[in-house]
Symmetry: C2
Subunit: 124 residues, 2 copies
């Protein structure tokens, strides 16, 4: 076990509650999309397939509250809202980026492992 | 958007389905615990606070099917079952380790950001 003040393995530790909210695909997709440049709400909604407007709003609010992203509203008609990563968020975002794209890089190997496992356990 | 064959942002892509199962706190806790050495079922159950026996069994089976861990049963009485990371799992596990411990390292900053956000939005 690590010797920080925080211990993510202890279910009552604040770092565990943070990790609960980080270890969520929508949170990670948003952090990854904002990694390189600020992005508008509607663009995030389009780019992250399968996310609902409500889930996107909620997740953005949590990330803003945690100091990982900022929200800027521009006085256009209709109002344009843009989200940007903070320096703290950036430290998380680069790790999340590696994790997200790991699934793409290792897709073939995983599919092969699944096929082998299923063939072996077919009789069950 | 990346130019691999797989695109994790597309909801029907196999890599998205894999990412759905990776981006889960239990999966990440198990991968992190197995990073340095094989671990027995009961030890995982004790070390990962809050995980149920059923959730642990299911998550281990998924990880085994995906080729990320191996399961070895020893003919003791009662049977001892040990899980170990595979070379493929190791490539994921080191990233997961950074992500998990990010929450511990940055606990203070996040708690401060939350307090500031809540103070600013108190009137709402």
């Amino acid at each position: 076990m690590p010797d920080y003040n925080y211990n993510v393995y202890a279910s009552a530790c604040p770092s565990r509650i943070m990790f609960d909210s980080i270890s969520n695909k929508w949170t990670m997709f948003i952090l990854d999309r904002l990694r390189d440049q600020p992005v508008r709400f509607n663009q995030l909604l389009r780019e992250i397939e399968g996310i609902s407007q409500k889930m996107l709003s909620q997740t953005l609010k949590t990330l803003e509250r945690d100091g990982l992203i900022t929200r800027t509203a521009f006085p256009t008609v209709p109002v344009t809202v843009e989200y940007a990563i903070t320096p703290l968020g950036q430290t998380l975002s680069s790790t999340v980026h590696v994790l997200i794209h790991w699934a793409e890089h290792n897709g073939d190997e995983i599919l092969a492992a699944r096929a082998a496992y299923d063939a072996k356990n077919k009789q069950v």
